[in-house]
């Protein structure tokens, strides 16, 4: 869909939603990235109303093909609003709309925040060297703030109740059962996860894609945490494990906190803000889980070509990354084997 064809309806929606007399859209362009969602940058002038003046906005809507388990845009809007109210650094959510007459599918509108989320510049740019530890600590604090959102919440009643990782383990296995190629490493790791489930903690709101590549840096400053489409109730350590998962270190495998710093900086920020000491064994479980989940998501990306027929090299090739996760699973769960392999390398 080209939003350019929908400018009149969109301008009218923005005017009504903000009590403006009129909205003039000066520029509308698809922003880079977003395999699952489309993000459109909008420069608009609001005459009167709550947003009077020039505004830089983002309209977020579904891409042609999504992946299972992502929230709808109205639900994502509710999550974003809850995070914003809790003091998490997110773009201010403004409007949501499910009237197909406006742009053809549901969408949300938020303020456009300056900055770049590209992973490799964040992990590799020498000019960020001095601030990476502080950034990791800040992200730990942000995560703790997010986790102040706990069930029950009437505004988030659409989120499924959380009953531990067993259900997700069963879903991963069901996915593997449907997949034509056996994945013995994933089966082995899932068996470990099934037999090493940690004692439960009270559920919190999890971002479920909290990682380098999903936050914006404006210069050296954290300007926004993005992409809330996978959020849901979950274990407080799930986002910790995902953030530290090797798949999100962007060329700096040695920096275990998102490719930006040692874990202790990230942990310190989290522990100070949450008042909860992290248990390495719990985090290990969730890091194993993260690698299993990322492997399955990678394979689902390739399924968009294999099953869905999407003619995209970028998505088709992503399934290859599942084997990277499998190597990490072997390293995490068989450290003696890892040492033996390294000795032979």
């Amino acid at each position: 869909m080209g939003l350019g064809d929908r400018q009149v309806a969109l301008a009218q929606f923005l005017a009504e939603a903000s009590d403006a007399e009129q909205v003039e859209i000066a520029r509308i362009a698809l922003l880079p990235g977003g395999a699952i969602q489309e993000n459109w940058g909008i420069d608009a002038n609001f005459e009167g109303g709550r947003l009077a003046g020039q505004q830089r906005l983002v309209l977020r809507t579904d891409a042609l093909t999504g992946v299972p388990s992502s929230l709808g845009r109205l639900e994502e809007f509710a999550v974003l609003r809850a995070a914003f109210s809790a003091g998490v650094t997110v773009p201010q959510p403004l409007f949501a709309c499910d009237d197909a007459a406006v742009v053809g599918k549901p969408f949300l509108v938020m303020r456009r925040v300056a900055g770049s989320a590209a992973g490799r510049p964040i992990t590799l740019d020498p000019s960020l060297e001095a601030v990476r530890s502080a950034l990791a600590e800040r992200l730990g604090r942000e995560l703790a703030r997010l986790q102040t959102i706990r069930p029950p919440r009437a505004d988030l009643a659409f989120l499924s109740p959380y009953d531990g990782p067993a259900g997700q383990i069963a879903e991963f296995r069901a996915y593997l059962d449907r997949h034509p190629n056996p994945r013995p490493v994933l089966e082995w790791a899932l068996r470990w996860a099934e037999t090493h489930r940690p004692d439960p903690l009270p559920p919190v709101l999890c971002h479920r894609d909290f990682r380098t590549g999903n936050y914006l840096l404006d210069g050296i400053k954290l300007s926004a945490i993005l992409d809330w489409e996978f959020a849901g109730w979950g274990d407080p350590d799930e986002d910790i494990g995902w953030f530290c998962c090797k798949g999100w270190r962007f060329g700096r495998l040695d920096r275990e906190a998102g490719g930006i710093a040692d874990r202790r900086h990230f942990y310190r920020g989290y522990e100070a803000a949450s008042g909860r000491q992290l248990d390495p064994e719990r985090v290990k479980f969730w890091e194993v889980y993260a690698n299993i989940r990322w492997a399955v998501i990678s394979m689902q990306q390739s399924d968009r070509y294999l099953i869905g027929g999407a003619r995209s090299l970028s998505t088709a090739i992503t399934g290859r990354r599942a084997t990277e996760c499998e190597l990490e699973l072997l390293s995490l769960l068989d450290p003696d084997g890892a040492a033996k392999q390294a000795a032979h390398a």
Binding site: P182, P184, T323, E324, L330
Partner: protein, 128 residues
Amino acid sequence: MRDLPTSLELLALAHELLRDELVPLLPPERRRDAHLIATAMAIAAREVAGEGWQGEIEQALGDFYGEVGKGDLARFAADLRNGAFETSPSRAAAARAILWRLTIEKLREGNPQFLAANGLSDAGRQGQ
């Protein structure tokens, strides 16, 4: 009977042409696509050159199950799901050795840079 140069040599030359001469001419926003094309070509070249390991894994699975000929990867996966080897440390260790070999060989074709970044560029080529 095929003509020379081989398809692998042609792929290598095409890869060099793309990487060294065409990528620098592209606008920055399309360079990632060109790198993806180069990656896909490199995977294809390594897979064509590296067919032998799959037979070796099947043979290792056959040996693991005490069978003559090829072992079955699906059976192995199902047994791992059920924890079939957990009561025997030696069987569990032998199963893990096959998992390591399988994973390293797949990465040697799919992403050798990742293998090298994990200090495993030549793992499995000796002492296995």
